[in-house]
């Protein structure tokens, strides 16, 4: 346990540090170059944004700074002096701490317990812990920081925004002066994000902040300087003056994505089967859904999905999309309302019944909800097919292995999933190939009528993203309907026929024509400014 933090929350501003990362190169044991000769620096009292698309290397760079990873080449200098971090605790000694995307909190103990796990304590305090004293102290501290929280609540019961707050407060309480935020708004509602921005603006006077993101619009909220990474290299750096003068989002996008920019912002969707547009395939009527903590997350949603259309749902993660999807699938029950699928009321049907009826799911949580990593690639595909394709659907039915295997081989070829042998366990697949597998097995299912795709291209590089988009449109042309949930506006605009906006559990706007949407207006609906 680290008890050597040389910083206390009351240290004066002048003793803050200037951090420099020079010529950082990181090569993974399997030969992949994650970072190449990257230079990055951080001045006291500034917010330095690290921009880049998924896989560009931003997280890797910050993990090196936070002491989680070691660079293959290059060095870190603090106030001009080279330092070496062998663990996050070493970085913490210099006041460097990271707020991760997936919080390092223990759910079943209280907030103050989580804080105490990292707080430096004297010998005496270790043996006789007076929790109340610390709790009071922490509560006061939290209020002083502008992030009030009840120290005795069990972390399990906190929404994502408050959990993040605990992480932030814990770091600050330990005297962290250099805060690294890794994709902090991915779990937050617009309101929570706003509060976070406000907090950042306040706290930067006493600390330095690295803000890692791939969301362009955040840049204008809080950044003083911007560095853009692409393919493990720094492609552009904006100084304070550049930022003050204002930067076009399009220009940022260009640097983030490079030559692919042109198609990235264009819509490539062709015509849809307009004539089948009139037939509703899924009706969601006045649905109210609660989350795991008994909060109402979906507050009366009405949606109709037509045959052969792609209905996009735009909204910042945390506004009820997850619960809505789970309710449509049958994983979560409805408090009120009904769901009609293909003319049949499925409100009380189980997931497996709905999936057998032609509903399909491409989960955002790929490993947790998609595959069993110990069994083979082929079996992961069969397992889905035998349970959902009616032809195979007898309970102890004998499998026709040859036939299934051939189909899998064809699938792998068609989707260009890089693997030597489909009888190898699924865990050897990379993220991109795994996603292709999940999408392939669903789209190859002849019985599907409606596909709910959650963040289908999250974490993927541009090429794979485009491939998947093409496949979705192909499938759509054959009559499959899609509900597309994505936190990437470009994807939604590119693929959707109609676009609904969800904010705070309600659908606040439905665009029937996506061609000429005013992005500003769309953002306002997404942020809840307009309703």
């Amino acid at each position: 346990m680290n008890t050597n933090s040389i910083f206390s929350p009351n240290m004066s501003v002048s003793s803050l540090l200037f951090i420099e990362m020079r010529d950082i190169t990181k090569i993974y044991p399997n030969g992949v170059y994650a970072l190449v000769d990257v230079n990055f620096d951080l001045k006291p009292c500034e917010v330095h944004c690290l921009l880049g698309e998924n896989g560009a290397g931003k997280s890797t760079l910050m993990k090196i700074l936070a002491g989680v990873l070691k660079p293959t080449k290059g060095e870190i200098l603090i106030n001009g002096v080279p330092v070496e971090f062998n663990s996050p605790l070493d970085a913490q000694k210099y006041g460097i701490g990271m707020v991760h995307q997936l919080f390092n909190l223990i759910d079943d103990i209280s907030v103050i317990d989580n804080v105490l796990l990292l707080t430096p304590l004297t010998k005496r305090e270790k043996l006789w812990l007076i929790k109340d004293k610390f709790a009071l102290d922490f509560r006061k501290f939290a209020e002083k920081m502008g992030l009030p929280i009840d120290p005795f609540v069990k972390v399990r019961f906190l929404p994502a925004g408050l959990k993040q707050r605990v992480e932030i407060l814990r770091l600050l309480y330990l005297g962290t002066k250099i805060l690294i935020f890794d994709e902090p708004t991915s779990m937050l509602t617009p309101l929570e994000s706003k509060e976070l921005f406000k907090f950042i603006r306040n706290v930067k006077s006493q600390s330095s902040i690295v803000w890692v993101t791939h969301r362009l619009n955040e840049v204008n909220e809080i950044c003083d300087r911007i560095t853009i990474l692409r393919g493990g290299k720094v492609v552009k750096h904006y100084t304070e003056e550049d930022v003050r003068n204002g930067i076009e989002l399009a220009e940022l996008a260009y640097y983030m994505v490079g030559d692919a920019m042109v198609s990235y912002l264009d819509k490539i969707k062709g015509d849809t089967l307009q004539n089948t547009f009139d037939k509703p395939i899924l009706k969601i009527n006045n649905v109210i859904v609660k989350d795991d903590y008994n909060n109402i997350k979906v507050k009366g949603v009405n949606l109709t999905l037509y045959r052969g259309e792609i209905l996009g749902i735009a909204g910042v993660s945390g506004n009820g999309q997850k619960e809505l999807v789970e309710a449509i699938l049958g994983y979560r029950s409805l408090e009120k309302g009904s769901i009609i699928f293909n003319g049949i009321d499925i409100t009380s049907k189980s997931i497996s019944e709905r999936l057998k009826m032609g509903l399909a799911y491409i989960p955002a949580d790929r490993l947790e909800r998609g595959v069993a990593d110990g069994i083979s690639i082929a079996e992961n595909i069969y397992a889905y097919w035998v349970n959902t394709i009616n032809r195979f659907n007898n309970s102890i039915g004998i499998l026709n292995k040859k036939y299934l295997y051939d189909k899998v081989v064809n699938l792998i070829k068609e989707y260009n999933i890089k693997t030597i042998d489909p009888s190898l366990p699924v865990r050897i697949l990379s993220g991109g190939n795994l996603q292709k597998l999940l999408i392939a097995r669903v789209l190859q299912n002849p019985c599907i009528k409606v596909v709910i795709a959650e963040e289908p291209t999250a974490g993927l590089d541009i090429k794979t993203m485009q491939f998947i988009h093409r496949k979705i449109i192909e499938s759509c042309k054959q009559g499959t309907s899609f509900i597309l949930i994505s936190s990437e506006l470009d994807e939604l605009l590119k693929l959707s026929d109609r676009l609904a906006v969800i904010y705070d559990g309600k659908i606040t706007k439905i665009y029937n024509n996506v061609d000429n949407i005013d992005i500003m207006e769309l953002s306002e609906y997404m942020m809840g400014i307009k309703y």
Partner: protein, 354 residues
């Protein structure tokens, strides 16, 4: 690819290794007891497998373990920890004995059939208790099945000392199973009975169900990732209930075999930890029916062998029981070691992307 053959060999390797270690242990213990380890081992193998009679005894003794292990494969592969096989065995035993005794007046083979079915169903129903609690109230089946073991054992103990006590001998046992419910022997001078040969039917059936049916595939998937299983339309509740039913049913079959075919009564200790040993053996056999069969046979023969060697040479019995606990551990360890080695080979063969 030649690698497929290598993979199969690798699966057997831990078993071979484990047995070798076991033999080594046995020889050491013989030595400590003042016997010549080599001749004693020879004797052991003779008494275990040497003649047709001894071989059939080994086979006979392996049956309860084999049946229970085959049954346990189902819930274990689905990730359901059925630790209650011991209790299910006791319940099945007493049910089949009770039916046999009370239906004795009916002509053969009706009481026999009723008793066997009764035993199987008894085991199955008892196994459904933890299954039902898991499905409806999400109660962890490890605890419930463990507790139910003792409830079953004590209940049976009460019954054989009370209402089902043998009035003639007044020992803690049921009256002998009436002739109309005894499983007939196949050969006049061997103890094998007709239920024993069911082994040769059950093994291939288990193989087929697990590897070649959609049920088996769903089982395996669920065992690996129960959350994703739901999103693949696998009906988890049904699988829990069905696998536990199958496990209890086969355990009941094992009990019927012992009670109606071998011991011909229910006594204290009708099961010498068969339920627990089978748990070890399921893994020991690499979750593979053929492996399980071989191991049960080998193990049973060794137990018989050591018992007879003890008897004739005067060393204490119990050697085999002691080793039976060590054996699964040795195999587990070898299994893991082999797994780690083969995994690293796998990684070297594929380029990791990202």
């Amino acid at each position: 690819m030649g690698s497929k053959a290598i993979v199969k060999f690798i699966k057997i390797l831990p078993i071979i290794f484990g047995f070798s270690l076991l033999l080594l242990l046995i020889m050491v213990l013989f030595l400590l007891s003042g016997l010549n380890p080599f001749t004693s081992c020879q004797l052991l193998f003779y008494y275990g497998f040497g003649t047709t009679a001894y071989l059939s005894e080994a086979f006979l003794r392996s049956i309860p373990i084999l049946f229970i292990s085959l049954g346990l494969m189902f819930p274990f592969m689905a990730g359901i920890w059925n630790i209650g096989a011991e209790g299910q065995f006791y319940v099945a035993a007493i049910v089949s004995a009770a039916i046999a005794i009370y239906s004795a007046w009916m002509p053969f083979p009706i009481p026999l059939i009723l008793s066997i079915i009764g035993g199987c169903l008894g085991g199955a129903v008892y196994a459904l208790i933890p299954a039902y609690l898991r499905v409806t109230r999400n109660v962890n089946e490890i605890f419930t099945s463990l507790m139910l073991n003792y409830i079953a054992i004590y209940s049976v103990s009460y019954l054989i000392l009370g209402p089902l006590r043998n009035p003639t001998t007044n020992f803690a046992e049921t009256p002998p199973i009436p002739g109309s419910a005894i499983i007939p022997r196949i050969f006049p001078n061997l103890r094998l009975n007709f239920l024993s040969i069911l082994a040769f039917i059950l093994i291939p059936i288990t193989l087929i169900v697990i590897n070649n049916t959609s049920f088996g595939l769903s089982l395996k998937f669920m065992g690996q990732n129960p959350i994703a299983a739901e999103f693949i339309a696998i009906n988890k509740k049904r699988i829990i209930l069905v696998t536990m039913f199958i496990s209890g049913f086969l355990t009941g079959l094992a009990a019927a075999h012992e009670v109606l075919g071998v011991v011909h009564a229910v006594r204290q200790g009708i099961s010498s930890n068969y339920g627990y040993i089978s748990i070890g053996i399921v893994y020991f056999g690499g979750m593979n029916p053929i492996g399980i069969f071989l191991i049960s046979l080998l193990a049973a023969g060794i137990i018989n062998g050591t018992r007879l060697v003890s008897f004739f040479t005067g060393i204490p019995i119990g050697l085999s029981d002691m080793l039976f606990g060590a054996l699964p551990l040795l195999i587990f360890i070898s299994n893991k070691a082999v797994e780690k080695i083969s995994n690293s080979i796998l990684i070297h063969r594929k380029r990791w992307i990202g």
